[in-house]
Symmetry: C2
Subunit: 343 residues, 2 copies
C-alpha cells in the first residue's frame, strides 16, 4: 500500500538518482513506473531488487499514476507534464519548463515547504545552483534579512547530465594517452579548464547574462517570496564530477556577529558547517559528493563591509541540487496528506 | 655588451620561465648566472643555445652582477637579496619577502611603473592573483575610480610551483589506473576537486582570511598607491595547470556605460578583451596559458548595482603573474636608464 509513482526520464543522471533515493529513503511507492524516450524503452532498471522494464513516456503511461518525478528535459516536460496532470498526477518537475509560472510553486523544502500546499498539479524543482545557494541563505534571511548576494560558481560537469561526466572523463583519458581530446558537448575542452558559459549552448539573456545566472537571480526571489533579495552571479563550469561549489558574498540588512552566523547556519535544516581552516576543515566538492546537506565553510565578515559575509558552499548537484530536493518535496506531499498513502 | 644578470631560483617553474622570457624577449644580458640551492648546483640549463651550469646561491655569487631576477622562495630571498643589494645589484624579487616594506616599490608596470624610480635596490613583484587583477582594474580606476572589488579566484596548481603541477598530473594518472591518488603538497586531492585554501599550508590571517586573500587586499592598495580601494577575496585552487582565472565584481565611483568600459579595457596596456559569449568568445585558462596579456570577458553591468560590473579575467600565472612581470620591470629599468647597457 502506498503511492503509485512514476519516474519520467529514468535513464538520465538525475533519473538514476531518483531510483537510488526512493529505495534509500524507503519512499512509500505502491508501484513504480520508469518512463523514458522511445529509444530507451525496453531496457531495464533494478528497483528494490526487482527488474523493471522502461516504458516509453507517452500520455497514456500516466493513467493510474499518482506521483511523477520528472527530469527528462524542458521540452519533454512541456509536452508531457500537462498530460500527467490531466490524468490526476502530482508532478515534481526538475526542468525549467514551469519554474517561473504563476500557478506553480517553486520549492526548496528547507526554505518554503509551505508553498507546496498551493500546487495545482505541478511543483517545480529549482535550478541546482539556486537550490544549493538558498539552503544556507534561509537562516540568514530569517534572522538578518538578505539584501544582496554576489555569487561565483564552480559547477561540476554533472550539471550537463551523464554526457557531461563522460566528456570530462574521455578528455582526461585522451590527454593521458596523447590523443587530441574531443570537444562535443561543452564549447571548449573542459579537462584542466574553466568555462564561464552555462548552459553550454544558447541561453543568452539581457545584459550579457546567461540563463544559469538569470535562474539564480529570479528563482531566489520566487523561492523566498521576496523580490527585495538582490542576486548577481557569474556561473563557471570546472572539471569536477558531480558537486557544485559557490563563493558567495552576502550583504545582510541587520548587523550581526560572525559567531551568531555560524550558530544559525549550524542549526539550520539541510546545512552542515565545516569551518576550521587551520585544521583543513572546509567543504570541498569531492567530499560533499553523495551527501544530502549543503556544506558551508570559510565563514568570514567581508573586510570591505561589516554588514556582509564571504562564504564558501558545496552541494551535490545531482542529489540536493536535483533528485533529493524533488524526493523531499514528494515526502512533504505525503506528510501534508496531499498524496494519500492508503492503509 | 649589456647587463650582467643572474637568476636566483633557476630550477623552479618561475625560474625556468625567466630563462625562456629573457631569450624570447631578447633581453640585453651581457652574461647570465643561474643560481639555485646547493642541491641543484652542478646541473645545467640551456640559454641562447649555450649550456650553463647552475651555481650554488651564496652571497659571493652576486659579486659583479648588476640585475637579479629572484624567485627562490621567501626565506631564501630574505637571506640572499640583501646580500645581492649590498654588492650593488638591483633585485626584482618575486617572493612575498619585501612586498609590503616601505622602501620597496611593488610594481606592475601597466599600473605603476613610475614607482620603479624610487627603488633602493629591491623592486618587489606582486602576488600572481593580485597582478592578474590589477592590470584590468587600472583603466577602470583611472577613468571611473575603483571603490570596491569582490574577487573569487580559480587558481591553477602552478601557483604551488612545479610540485603543484606534478601532484595534479600524478593524481589524475593514479585515478585513471585505479590507484589511490597520493595527497602530499595540497591538503586534499586536487584532481576533480576545488580547495578553498591558498597557500596550501599555514598562512592564517585575521578574521578567517588566508594569506593569498590578504595579499590581494593589501597589495592592490600599495600598487595603486590608493588606500581607498577596498578589496575582498575568496581564493580557491582548481585542477588547472598554469593559468589563474578570477570572477570579479567591481564597484566604480563614477557612472559608466558598459560600452565605455569595454573600450577602455580594449585600449589598456596588457589587456585583451574577448567578450562575445554568443560566439563562445570569452577567456578560458587553457587558451590564455602562455599568453602575455590578461584577458577579460563576460563584461556585464551588475544587475544589483548600476555602478558595479561583473568581469571574468584570466592570466597566465607563471608568465604575467610572475616571471613576465619581473622581466617587464627589468626592461623598464633599462628604458629608464637605471640599468646601464654599456655601448
Amino acid at each position: 500500500m502506498g503511492i503509485k509513482t512514476a519516474i519520467l526520464g529514468a535513464t538520465g543522471a538525475v533519473g538514476q538518482e531518483f531510483l537510488k533515493l526512493l529505495e534509500e529513503r524507503d519512499f512509500p511507492c505502491e508501484s513504480l513506473k520508469v518512463l523514458a524516450s522511445a529509444r530507451s524503452a525496453g531496457k531495464t532498471v533494478t528497483f528494490r531488487g526487482q527488474t523493471t522494464t522502461i516504458e516509453e513516456a507517452r500520455p497514456e503511461a500516466f493513467d493510474g499514476v499518482e506521483l511523477v518525478l520528472s527530469s527528462a528535459g524542458g521540452s519533454v516536460s512541456k509536452a508531457l507534464v500537462p498530460e500527467a496532470v490531466k490524468r490526476g498526477c502530482v508532478v515534481v518537475d526538475n526542468t525549467s519548463a514551469f519554474r517561473m509560472d504563476a500557478g506553480v510553486p517553486l520549492v526548496v523544502p528547507e526554505v518554503n515547504r509551505h508553498a507546496i500546499r498551493e500546487h495545482q498539479g505541478i511543483i517545480a524543482n529549482p535550478n541546482c545552483s539556486t537550490i544549493i545557494m538558498v539552503v544556507p541563505l534561509k537562516p540568514l534571511h530569517s534572522r538578518w534579512g538578505v539584501k544582496r548576494v554576489i555569487a561565483s560558481t564552480y559547477q561540476a560537469v554533472s550539471g550537463a547530465g551523464q554526457k557531461g561526466i563522460s566528456e570530462l572523463e574521455q578528455q582526461v583519458a585522451d590527454l593521458a594517452a596523447g590523443r587530441e581530446p574531443k570537444v562535443a558537448l561543452f564549447p571548449k575542452q573542459i579537462a584542466y579548464n574553466a568555462i564561464p558559459r552555462i548552459p553550454q549552448r544558447g541561453g543568452l539573456c539581457d545584459g550579457g547574462y546567461l540563463e544559469e545566472e538569470v535562474k539564480m537571480i529570479r528563482e531566489t526571489k520566487k523561492i523566498f517570496g521576496d523580490d527585495s533579495i538582490q542576486v548577481t552571479a557569474t556561473c563557471v563550469r570546472v572539471p569536477i564530477i558531480r558537486c557544485h561549489s559557490e563563493s558567495i558574498n552576502v550583504e545582510l540588512a541587520e548587523p550581526f556577529r560572525v559567531e551568531e552566523i555560524r550558530e544559525a547556519l549550524a542549526a539550520a535544516e539541510g546545512v552542515t558547517v565545516q569551518d576550521d581552516v587551520a585544521n583543513d576543515v572546509y567543504p570541498v566538492p569531492l567530499e560533499v559528493s553523495n551527501q544530502d546537506d549543503v556544506f558551508v565553510g570559510r565563514i568570514r565578515v567581508d573586510n570591505t563591509n561589516p554588514q556582509a559575509l564571504n562564504l564558501w558552499i558545496c552541494g551535490d548537484q545531482i542529489r540536493k541540487g536535483a533528485a533529493l530536493n524533488a524526493v523531499q518535496i514528494a515526502e512533504d506531499l505525503v506528510k501534508m496528506g496531499m498524496l494519500a498513502v492508503k492503509a
